[in-house]
């Protein structure tokens, strides 16, 4: 067994018992990266050319390697959001979530690939080329946090961070066969996360066991004065325990989603999971979410694009990133910088966002979407009066081939139906591994009311015990 194959809590125990050293872990992970990266292409920027100094040798994560999605700001280290427009920008500050990991001793191996500005669900909309699924390198790893999921799946690092605006953690976790957790909106500070849809974005971890997710959540969660949407006075204890039970808990499936077509391995996984839950003493019920089923996708894109186009107004070539020196006047400068700097999908969403908020249409689209969002939140709130958690797919299908869906953007948008309502209502969502279909992993999703993060992960521990943990993917290495 190589060190890179060990899960996070095992590594921490081994380090404590001095079975191996941080340097040995670093070398093992680096070797694994060197072995697979040509096939997977998870990195935008590698920082593992030499062992990094450990900020806190006594921290919980002292010497543990990690990677960050490249929309998390890292002081002095290039941060691109997978866009040309940020050029060679090196932020002068650290994102709060990374600062917390660093202060706990984590070591950065690099910044990983994503869809440009987190817009996409394949990790193919990147100015740096697509990332490949470590389980089958002809397939997509999912997105937008595809690099973060692939890196954990292939054994580059035991855990990573990504961000989730409409499923960008949960979907790639499912596609790559790892656990991915999207916390309640406000649980983790967004300071230093390059914004896509500010009211939807949330940072969360990827790992190969639920226990490791709990460990990372205990470090990165909490109030941050730099993020007004991070919540105060909420105490959450993510301490791992095997002594947990779901006896008497109500777990529901969504009535309106019943008739939707799913790939056979996914519907099989739901049946198996329901059986496990029942055996553990949970009560399986059904809830109705008619507004979510009908309007969530339209509502989500209207809001995400409206917020996105204002979040991306700051990229004008004046202060940082890509710029042109020979423009005739400021207007030409803005036009040339933004025309060249943004990729096609980002431009499409900027234009859509501009149209949706344009004064003559604003009421009809943007304002209407904010109202629908309130209805969706109310609908979930009602549903969670009848159930503790909802069990549902992450996606209707298993990961597709790279380049497959490029022509039909709308199909990509609708594939997010199971993930994005969670962001609209600010709920937590856990993407968990259920097994393999051939060489492809199959994931499902648990969602719960706001601030149910701790008990959701506890439930994840029980599911993992029965469903088994994922293996390290072969990373295209024969």
């Amino acid at each position: 067994m190589e060190l890179y194959e060990l899960n996070l809590h095992i590594l921490i125990e081994g380090l404590k018992a001095k079975k191996f050293s941080p340097a040995e872990i670093f070398q093992s992970c680096k070797k694994r990266i060197d072995q697979c990266e040509e096939n997977i292409h998870a990195f935008i920027t590698r920082t593992d050319d030499k062992p990094q100094s450990i900020e806190n040798p006594n921290g919980l994560l002292a010497g543990i390697p990690t990677v960050l999605k490249d929309n998390l700001c890292t002081k002095g280290i290039r941060t691109t959001a997978a866009s040309k427009i940020l050029g060679n920008w090196k932020p002068p500050y650290n994102a709060t979530a990374w600062e917390k990991l660093r202060s706990a001793g984590a070591v950065l191996m690099g910044k990983v690939n994503m869809d440009e500005f987190a817009m996409g669900n394949t990790c193919g909309n990147s100015a740096f080329g697509p990332t490949h699924n470590p389980n089958d390198i002809s397939r997509v790893p999912g997105g937008s946090s595809g690099g973060s999921a692939a890196a954990v799946s292939a054994g580059y690092v035991p855990f990573s961070l990504g961000s989730d605006t409409g499923g960008s953690i949960r979907q790639p976790a499912s596609f790559c066969g790892v656990y991915g957790f999207k916390p309640t909106y406000g649980m983790v500070s967004r300071y230093g996360l390059i914004s896509y849809g500010s009211s939807l974005d949330q940072i969360g971890p990827f790992a190969r066991t639920v226990q490791d997710l709990q460990l990372i959540m205990s470090i990165i969660s909490g109030h941050d004065p730099m993020d007004s949407s991070s919540f105060r006075n909420k105490d959450h204890d993510f301490t791992h325990s095997e002594d947990v039970s779901i006896k008497g808990k109500r777990i529901a499936v969504v009535k309106e989603f019943r008739d939707f077509t799913l790939d056979a391995p996914i519907s099989d996984a739901i049946k198996r999971t329901i059986k496990i839950l029942e055996d553990e003493g949970a009560i399986i019920t059904e809830v109705s979410l008619p507004v979510v089923a009908k309007y969530a996708v339209a509502c989500y894109y209207a809001l995400a694009m409206s917020e996105a186009h204002t979040n991306l107004e700051r990229y004008d070539g004046v202060r940082l990133g890509y710029t042109v020196k020979d423009a005739a006047g400021i207007k030409e400068m803005f036009e040339r910088v933004r025309s060249y700097g943004f990729g096609a999908e980002v431009k499409a969403r900027i234009i859509a966002g501009t149209c949706l908020t344009e004064p003559s249409r604003c009421e009809e689209y943007y304002v209407a979407a904010t109202k629908v969002r309130t209805l969706i939140a109310q609908e979930f709130s009602r549903a969670f009066g009848e159930t503790d958690f909802i069990l549902q797919p992450v996606t209707p299908s298993l990961p597709g081939k790279i380049g497959e869906n490029d022509e039909d953007a709308l199909k990509g948008y609708e594939a997010d139906l199971y993930t994005l309502p969670v962001n609209l209502a600010g709920l937590p969502g856990l993407s968990f591994f259920t097994g393999y279909s051939g060489n492809l992993p199959v994931g499902l999703q648990l969602i719960g009311p706001r601030w149910s993060d701790v008990s959701m992960l506890d439930t994840g521990v029980i599911l993992e015990r029965h469903l088994g943990s994922p293996k390290i993917a072969n990373g295209g290495v024969k």
Binding site: P91, S198, M226
Partner: protein, 486 residues
């Protein structure tokens, strides 16, 4: 045919810099005089990944300014993103409360053309962040045509209150009174120092004309006025321009015009006003203000200048005109009231402050806060004059001496050789004796009865007055001399 008359319809938008040590959404210093780009951080530079966090002390400054304009405070207000592209705007949008502001409506009173009080309604006041400042290499100092432009972000994120009036203003004169009264009240509230020379108050005016024949001209937005004079002249110019167009049967175009202070004209903006749109700022939660918070801030509101002036007139019988001058500057009024509470007669103290103190401040270009004579000292001087220990002339001499030499009353009196209470009795008799002794021929003439017209007596009186440096009462001198020559 009856002559056409025109009524100007004017609304005024004012931007005021609120007083605060730190910026609206980050903790950077608001000192904009610092070397370029030294008071900046990732937040006010709008760097990717940064988020605004609201400075709650500035919210209180906004509330104070709102109270000064007779506005109510909303329990819930929101921040919006106001989008447009410009190099001094780091995020490509300005964070502003434009659509759901912190205050409800209010008003400011001005005098109309007949001298009657009239309310100019304030639509609302809202909080927003300022932008950076541009420095262009072009000769006219504007962006268009400049070969190089530099951006200083020190000002980016400094707190502004935007105050929007209803179109209740009918003349340039009313406009100026509106902004002057408003400025005075805001300064009183402590919300802002509103130092005009530092660009802490900027004006835009919406001007349109209503004609007696029923025509109503389109609204023209005039921008770029930074002084009361500029505001007055720009409005006057615009009224004349629009009137002329309408008299010739033309139509006033709805547009934005730029006031050129040097040329004294408005001209059509060369840059097309980029269209703006708003979405809710998703990075800031709604601003909730409890009644308790409102009450706490309201309790800090000082007496407003007009109320204060009325109190001077009613309680102390100070003339309205003097009361207005004293209350124009809060610090001056505070100074005056300190004099009174130190025992000076209010009416006399008012005149002293009004004439002497203001004269010296003007001469020295000083502010009342830097004035060397403390109010309790001035009160002492006023009292001595009041009690007749010093004549009014002597009082003023002592005052000037104190100002010039930074000395106390007693030292100044001594240095000026003044005898307090004047020269009378034996001291006066001694002087008279010596004067008479030095002029025996005059005495002879009087004694011989040849001084029929009393000219010689007057002559002696003059000499004595001169000798006493005017410190004796003329009546007493005359009587004493008459006695001495008997």
């Amino acid at each position: 045919m009856a002559e056409l008359t025109f009524t100007p319809v004017i609304g005024i938008e004012i931007h005021i810099r609120l007083k605060s040590d730190s910026k609206l959404f980050c903790s950077c210093s608001t000192n904009t005089d610092a070397p370029a780009n030294t008071n900046i951080c990732p937040v006010c530079m709008g760097l990717p990944g940064t988020l605004p966090h609201l400075n709650h002390r500035i919210v209180e400054q906004g509330m104070l300014a709102g109270f000064a304009l007779n506005c109510g405070i909303r329990h819930k207000s929101l921040f919006f993103r106001k989008s447009y592209f410009y190099p001094d705007l780091p995020k490509g949008h300005q964070v502003s409360q434009c659509d759901l502001p912190i205050t409800t409506s209010g008003y400011i009173e001005v005098h109309d053309s007949e001298g009657k009080l009239k309310k100019i309604r304030v639509h609302h006041l809202h909080l927003e962040e300022d932008v950076g400042s541009l420095h262009h290499s072009a000769s006219d100092g504007r962006l268009e045509g400049a070969a190089t432009s530099y951006v200083d972000y020190n000002r980016s994120g400094t707190p502004l209150a935007e105050i929007v009036s209803e179109p209740d203003v009918s003349s340039a004169k009313e406009a100026v009174e509106y902004v002057m009264t408003l400025r005075r009240r805001v300064i009183y509230s402590g919300a802002s120092d509103v130092e005009l020379e530092k660009g802490m108050m900027r004006f835009d005016a919406n001007v349109s004309m209503k004609c007696s024949d029923g025509r109503w001209g389109k609204k023209v937005e005039v921008k770029n006025m930074n002084s009361f004079k500029a505001l007055e002249h720009a409005i006057e110019f615009e009224i004349k321009r629009q009137k002329k167009i309408m008299l010739q049967g033309g139509e006033v175009k709805q547009e934005t015009r730029h006031w050129n202070d040097a040329k004294g004209i408005t001209s059509s903006s060369r840059v097309k006003e980029s269209y703006r749109k708003f979405i809710v700022e998703p990075d800031l939660p709604p601003l909730y203000i409890s009644q308790e918070w409102i009450d706490r801030v309201a309790s800090r509101m000082p007496e407003m200048p007009d109320v204060r002036a009325n109190r001077y007139v009613n309680d102390w019988e100070i003339p309205q005109e003097v009361a207005d001058v004293l209350t124009d500057d809060k610090n001056l009024a505070d100074y005056f009231e300190s004099c009174v509470s130190s025992g000076a007669n209010p009416v006399r103290a008012a005149h002293w402050v009004r004439t002497e103190v203001l004269r010296v401040l003007n001469e020295k270009g000083q502010k009342i806060a830097d004035f060397s004579i403390k109010p309790e000292v001035l009160a002492g001087l006023v009292k001595r004059v009041d009690e007749g220990k010093l004549s009014t002339t002597q009082g003023k001499e002592v005052f000037d001496y104190m100002c010039a030499n930074n000395s106390g009353i007693d030292d100044s009196v001594k240095a000026l050789g003044i005898t307090e209470g004047g020269i009378a009795g034996n001291a006066l008799n001694d002087i008279i004796a010596s004067v008479i002794a030095a002029n025996p021929d005059v005495l002879d003439e009087i004694k011989s009865g040849r001084d029929k017209k009393g000219k010689k007596l007057k002559f002696l009186q003059g000499l004595v007055m001169k000798e006493t440096k005017g410190q004796a009462k003329p009546q007493e001198v005359a009587e004493a001399i008459a006695e001495a020559v008997k």
